[in-house]
């Protein structure tokens, strides 16, 4: 996108970023928005249109949302749990209709029926003053040597042990075969090496803590309960690549995570390790846009540009934040790094499978008897995770969606053949993604699931590339209009999926056909009447 805006925004990189200043300006309702934007445009040398263009992209910065007092979670788990009406009714007693908004998702999928008031999150068992923040985070370890069980106590020692020579850090991470936990599974050491090799005096580390997928809350667990592991991982990446600053981009829906990370940064700054490394952290608070979980959109967001997806190459390791080489990775990936540096890459590689090493935090939603974050070894049979660790389903289920809204939809009868690793899922025509598991009740119509999926993706598409911009909306309109008497045009729908897959600029559009085709394949009978012909996908 705009090199001019990027460069102008970079002039203020040391102080309050353009994005932060923009959010502050929009949220300051004491002055008309137009005046705020005019003044900010003058101060930051950018244009008025680019500011309004950027702010209007985010849910929480849209003018019509500035008066919202409460946000009801509209994530898949809350929808499937069937608690939303009840939650809304409860809120209606206290707020006017237009003061209640929707957010997707609040990341409390193990409770479901959640909503946010100010900086606090509650669920359907609402008691004023007793938010979910005060309840212990449900975490369960199912391996001998869990990475993320114990809290970090001796803070300086903890950071000191990652202050290793760049080559050693690179070496241990290569041995560990740690792969990105955000969903794509890219070898972390390769990314690190790429960023290290990239030319540039200024480099950045960016932690993608924009965990927007419904059904995923493992990053929130780490941010809130294990913040030092995340920061120490970023610090190590900074040392290895030569970056001196780490940005933690945390979504707006995670206020507690922001507080905990801020506290952790403050604690870090008091340590001798901070002084030795001269590394500094900065938090960027998101403002409600799912696409910011996509790495290039996230970078644009920090820069104060519209968080639209960039074309690649160049990759962030070559030209990332403010055009500089940037190591960008996910929370769980960074959080694994200190453990690897402490125990050695081989110890990490010894866990899991040959190609998918280490442990994985698996999120089980409200549909399980034991919902929460479960740390398991990679390669664990899915059935074991569901039945043994999760305690089985709360009520009859017909499928699980693994790895977020863009992950595969696995019918109950296919669970048995899968193990929890990238290879097993890919071979069976699914995607492991971040391995969050959402359970779809027997009673929930798949046509509604499809409608929900496309409604969500249409709402969250950045709108840049035409296949996704137009395709997500058209598919939703077709599915909404489809009925047993007026089935939708299957051939057109199939072509649309193909256009999404081949034509989309990023994963939001190109990965979406996978769960849709899973559903069309495994639930063809249920969906038969809604389609003009049996979907041949």
């Amino acid at each position: 996108m705009s090199k001019n805006l990027r460069s102008l925004s970079a002039r203020h990189v040391e102080g309050q970023t353009l994005f932060q200043a923009l959010a502050e300006a929009v949220e300051n309702t004491s002055m008309p928005l137009s005046q705020q934007l005019r003044e900010l445009a003058e101060e930051r040398l950018v244009s008025r249109a680019s500011l309004l263009g950027a702010s209007s992209f985010y849910d929480f910065l849209q003018v019509e949302n500035l008066n919202k007092r409460a946000y009801v979670c509209n994530g898949t788990c809350c929808l499937l749990a069937g608690k939303q009406d009840e939650v809304r009714a409860g809120l209606a007693a206290r707020y006017k209709d237009d003061e209640i908004g929707e957010a997707t998702c609040l990341g409390h999928c193990y409770r479901a029926g959640s909503f946010q008031e100010g900086e606090q999150t509650y669920d359907d068992e609402y008691r004023p003053g007793a938010s979910l923040d005060s309840i212990e985070f449900p975490y369960f370890a199912h391996i001998d040597q869990p990475l993320f069980a114990a809290p970090v106590t001796a803070i300086d020692d903890y950071y000191q042990q990652v202050l290793q020579a760049p080559a050693d850090i690179q070496e241990q991470l290569s041995r560990s075969n740690l792969r990105g936990r955000g969903g794509a599974g890219f070898p972390f050491a390769d990314k690190l090496a790429g960023c290290t090799a990239a030319a540039g005096t200024q480099k950045y580390v960016v932690c993608n803590a924009d965990e927007g997928d419904p059904g995923a809350f493992s990053d929130r667990y780490l941010l809130e309960e294990q913040p030092h592991r995340v920061l120490a991982g970023m610090l190590a990446a900074g040392l290895a690549t030569g970056a001196d600053t780490g940005f933690v981009y945390i979504r707006a829906e995670y206020p507690l995570a922001q507080r905990r990370i801020a506290e952790a940064i403050a604690a870090f700054e008091q340590t001798p390790a901070a002084a030795t490394s001269r590394f500094r952290f900065r938090i960027v608070r998101g403002a409600g846009a799912y696409i910011c979980g996509e790495e290039t959109a996230l970078l644009n967001s920090i820069e104060g540009l519209r968080p639209e997806v960039r074309t690649r190459p160049p990759y962030p390791t070559q030209a990332g934040l403010f055009g500089q080489p940037t190591l960008l990775s996910n929370v769980e990936t960074f959080a694994a790094v200190p453990w690897i540096l402490e125990h050695g890459g081989a110890a990490f590689a010894a866990m899991g499978t040959a190609q998918s090493t280490g442990t994985k935090l698996v999120c089980l939603d409200y549909g399980f008897n034991q919902p929460g974050v479960h740390e398991v070894a990679m390669g664990t049979p899915l059935r074991q995770v569901i039945e043994e660790y999760g305690g089985g389903f709360r009520w009859p289920m017909k499928a699980v969606q693994v790895g977020g809204p863009l992950g595969g939809v696995v019918p109950i009868d296919r669970i048995a053949g899968l193990t929890l690793d990238c290879e097993s899922f890919a071979a069976a025509g699914f995607e492991l993604g971040h391995a969050g598991i959402v359970s779809i009740p027997e009673s929930f119509p798949m046509i509604d699931f499809l409608r929900h999926l496309f409604a969500y993706m249409a709402a969250e598409s950045c709108g840049k590339c035409l296949p996704c911009r137009l395709g997500t909306r058209k598919a939703h309109t077709m599915l909404t209009a489809a009925s047993k008497t007026q089935p939708l045009d299957s051939a057109a729908f199939t072509d649309l999926l193909e256009a999404l897959e081949y034509g989309s600029l990023c994963g939001l559009g190109s990965a979406l056909p996978l769960p849709v085709r899973n559903i069309l394949t495994y639930f063809a009978t249920e969906l038969h009447d809604y389609f003009s012909e049996v979907a041949d996908t």
Partner: protein, 899 residues
């Protein structure tokens, strides 16, 4: 080794390093081989329409992947398939998705119009209906702007308008609002074009592949009879334009993408402000003053009358009683003829031009320093500079296409130093803005030079090998009184030092200056100091460096080149030199005068004194544009015989004894020379309006009548003569100028010159001349209490100098008055509010105009323009002249505010 290959649909083709699949395929199979919507070669690849998707594999048998051709680099041995079934299906689906929201009524061109790029593509792909449901919401059309119309209904979300406004103009007026399917293009804070900061450059309209963005002339889809490439007349940038004609009328102006000067860009004047050409106010008949009234007469009567009167005056009052002022708006050939007329037919050197009121100090100062009074480098080198220095030039408004290029660099973080009393647009992005008090350029440049020396940034090798006079220069520079200069300029020394570090440390520092440097008491001296700065830092003779005056009028460079000055004939040859005269006499076949002639101020003084009896003015409105209105008016009324060639009845023309209706630049051929010495062809678009004649033809006619036989106005013929007379035109012929012209000097074999002084200066060694600051007499007359403000003047984007052309176009709807900019602190002190009409008084006179409160000027400084005759700001300006070049000090006038 042969170039690496890649395969297109199974066939091998050589690839060029770094090119994209799109360029690679288009290069070999033609522009339409891969369809695109969001791609525009003038913009960075964006990759959002995905229509350019192709199948790509690393071998003939390897699995294929779909890639967008526009932003994917082609690799050696790659296999590219442009139209596999799945690719064709993908394109079809994308088009169907687009068409589902696109108005069916807009699928065909309007009757009598050409199809848009999108309509053409729809036709080519043979897709006219969609299987997908519509989500179209009809929106209203924005026609508030005098030129640009916006109909979002036809928008196909390609972002090209947004990107053009960003990447070409740098104005960033457009963005997208919201996200996803319902996001839409907004103008500023979701306002109308008229309300926005849009500068109407038209780049968005030009790139838009539909008519979502169009202009009042429907330029993009206009079905013209004929299209003629020519050169813009509105400033010294020299943009190439394509004029669209229908039924013999000019109906729209497009730009040429392959133009080296402007690469398809233009500004609101060049692209849109052409309606003046057939305005009802155009003069259509010669006018002769009879019984005090100007009355229409035939050309023969007018020319006979002129010939007789000039003969009479010459016989009665002597040859020196006649003078001529030529025009920088006219062609080289016309200027050549005008000076030849004065020198050969009349017999004196009383010839001058508008350079006298603008860049004469540049010519003088740079000739003194380098030997050549012209830009050392070229505009195309701006991207090669890693530091830009802009002095007294508001290029954003006065040279918009060049200004946009500078702004693009500054926005991307290239250090920019602006020396200007005003907070002009460029200062927004400048690294350092040295906001000096008007009239103190020399003081500030002395400070700058001091720090360059002090900080050890002198390029000793360059100075030693290629220049002379530096030792004395250094000594004088180090002896300045910093305290005093800091106080005089009002600029803190630290800021000047910062600028010195930026300029001195840059690998390639490129300087630009305008009339804010030249139109001063010490104007020429300032130019010499800028030249010295470049030499002492070795910023001469390479790409991306140099001293580059931004020429105000379209052919101010050319007019001077052609000899429009009283001391130098065509080619800047000294008229007092007998050898030079012999050269001229040989070529002109007639003796030429040896005595230097009068400058324009000299002519006006001579007229006032009764010494000058006849004055011939070609296309200048000196009464409105020259300083000290009352003095000029008096001078013009004192001459016995005033001839004016003009398009319109200007202030000056209304005083004439004979007014000759001239043809506009659209109605004649010739050449203009832009600010980078580029001689470009002006091609006649339409015949002269009935009753008018090209200025060159008028000169030919009068020369023939007065006994000097001259062939009819024919640029090709005159250029051949000029090439013989002017050494640096030696290789220029009408036929070899091509579309993009040639930059002089052009050697006999036709080779032109982008960069001057590469190996050696024109004068041999570059010469350093130090000058101490001297206060202008304007401000030294002990009446600061009576005249507490300094008024400075300049241009606005929408209008061109006296405004006679632009005021007669829809530009008047964009800006319809001269305004007085006053700092809010001053305004408060005087109780002046925005829009209030106030009076201004100087020693010379007074005027009234409306105030606008603005921090563009600092307290104590006022700014206004001179586009509107009713304000006649030159009632106020003074007779103070540049010490060396006689150029009036427009930029500093001591004034008082009267409410």
């Amino acid at each position: 080794m042969s170039a690496p290959n890649a395969y297109i649909n199974g066939k091998a083709y050589p690839l060029a390093a770094g090119e994209t699949i799109y360029t690679f395929v288009s290069r070999h199979l033609g522009a339409g081989a891969i369809p695109v919507l969001c791609n525009d070669d003038a913009l960075e690849p964006f990759g959002n329409c995905r229509l350019c998707s192709v199948d790509v594999a690393m071998s003939a048998v390897a699995p294929r992947r779909v890639k967008a051709a526009c932003h994917t680099r082609v690799e050696a041995e790659q296999y590219i398939y442009t139209d596999t079934p799945r690719i064709e299906k993908l394109r079809r689906s994308i088009m169907e998705l687009l068409l589902s929201d696109y108005p069916a009524t807009a699928l065909q061109p309007l009757p009598g119009e050409k199809p848009t790029a999108f309509q053409t593509l729809v036709q080519q792909l043979g897709i006219s209906s969609s299987r997908f449901p519509t989500d179209r919401k009809a929106a209203s059309v924005d026609k508030t702007h005098p030129y640009i119309h916006f109909d979002t209904n036809e928008c196909i979300y390609c972002y090209r308008c947004i990107r053009a406004c960003d990447e070409i103009q740098g104005q960033l007026v457009l963005s997208m609002l919201g996200r996803g399917h319902d996001s839409r293009v907004i103008v500023s804070l979701d306002q109308s074009f008229k309300e926005s900061e849009c500068v109407a450059c038209g780049a968005c309209v030009q790139t838009c592949p539909t008519n979502a963005l169009s202009d009042r002339y429907r330029t993009k889809t206009f079905m013209e009879d004929r299209r003629v490439r020519t050169v813009c007349t509105y400033c010294g940038v020299g943009c190439n334009l394509e004029v669209l004609l229908k039924d013999g009328e000019v109906r729209a102006i497009d730009t040429a993408d392959d133009a080296e000067v402007n690469q398809g860009h233009a500004c609101v004047k060049g692209r849109y402000a052409f309606a003046y050409y057939n305005h009802p106010d155009r003069l259509r008949s010669p006018l002769l003053r009879k019984n005090g009234e100007l009355q229409a007469v035939s050309w023969d009567e007018a020319l006979d009358h002129i010939a007789a009167r000039l003969d009479g005056i010459r016989q009665t009052h002597g040859v020196q009683a006649i003078a001529g002022i030529s025009s920088s708006r006219c062609t080289n050939e016309e200027n050549f003829l005008m000076q030849k007329f004065m020198r050969v037919v009349i017999g004196n050197n009383n010839i001058d031009g508008c350079a006298r009121v603008c860049h004469a100090p540049t010519a003088f100062g740079m000739q003194q320093s380098f030997g050549t009074g012209a830009a050392t480098n070229s505009i195309a080198e701006i991207p090669l500079a890693d530091c830009l220095l802009v002095i007294g030039a508001n290029s954003t408004e006065a040279h918009p296409v060049t200004g946009a290029k500078m702004q693009q660099r500054a926005m991307k973080g290239v250090p920019l130093i602006v020396i200007d009393p005003r907070r002009i647009e460029l200062t927004r992005y400048a690294t350092v803005h040295l906001q000096l008090r008007p009239g103190t350029n020399v003081a500030l440049l002395d400070m700058l030079i001091y720090y360059v020396i002090k900080e050890g940034l002198v390029d000793e090798e360059f100075v030693g090998q290629r220049t002379e006079g530096f030792a004395d220069f250094r000594e004088s520079a180090l002896a300045i009184d910093m305290d005093k200069l800091e106080q005089v300029t009002g600029v803190a020394r630290d800021k000047v030092r910062e600028a010195a570090l930026l300029y001195g440390r840059a690998h390639n520092a490129m300087s630009f200056h305008g009339l804010g440097l030249t139109e001063h008491y010490q104007g020429s001296r300032g130019v010499m100091l800028v030249a010295a700065l470049a030499m002492m830092t070795g910023n001469i003779g390479r790409p991306g460096v140099g001293v580059n005056p931004l020429r105000g009028q379209n052919n101010v460079q050319g007019a001077a080149d052609m000899g429009v000055q009283p001391n130098q004939g065509a080619g800047y040859l000294d008229v007092t030199d007998p050898a030079v005269r012999a050269h001229y006499e040989r070529e002109y076949g007639h003796p030429v005068p040896a005595e230097k002639g009068l400058t324009t101020p000299g002519m006006l003084n001579a007229a006032s004194n009764g010494d000058l009896k006849a004055l011939w003015i070609m296309g200048e409105d000196i009464l409105q544009t020259d300083p000290d209105y009352c003095h000029v008016r008096h001078a013009l009324s004192e001459v016995e015989f005033l001839v004016v060639q003009e398009l319109f009845m200007t202030e000056t023309a209304s005083l004439a004894d004979v007014v000759l209706p001239a043809a506009s630049h659209l109605e004649k051929s010739g050449t203009f020379t832009n600010g980078e010495r580029r001689v470009q062809r002006v091609n006649q678009v339409i015949p002269p309006l009935e009753g008018t004649r090209p200025d060159g033809q008028i000169m030919v006619d009068i020369m023939n009548r007065m006994g000097y036989a001259q062939a009819g106005y024919d640029p090709a013929l005159h250029l051949t003569e000029i090439a013989r007379v002017v050494p640096f035109f030696a290789g220029i012929r009408w036929d070899n100028l091509g579309e993009n012209g040639k930059q002089w000097p052009v050697s006999k074999d036709g080779q032109d010159t982008q960069i001057l002084h590469r190996e050696t200066f024109k004068r041999g060694k570059g010469k350093f001349t130090f000058t101490d600051f001297v206060e202008t007499p304007q401000l030294l007359e002990g009446d600061a209490d009576e005249y507490p403000f300094i008024l400075t003047t300049g241009r606005r984007l929408e209008h061109y100098n006296c405004g006679s052309m632009t005021r007669r176009t829809p530009n008047i709807d964009l800006l319809d008055r001269d305004e007085l900019l006053i700092n809010p602190l001053d305004a408060a002190a005087y109780g002046i509010i925005d829009e209030q009409e106030i009076g201004l008084r100087s020693k010379q006179g007074r005027t009234r105009l409306r105030a606008r409160l603005s921090d563009e000027v600092r307290p104590g400084v006022l700014f206004t323009t001179f586009h509107f005759p009713e304000i006649a700001i030159n009632h106020l300006t003074s007779g103070v002249l540049d010490l060396d070049a006689d150029t009036p000090e427009f930029k500093v006038v001591a004034v008082a505010i009267e409410k």
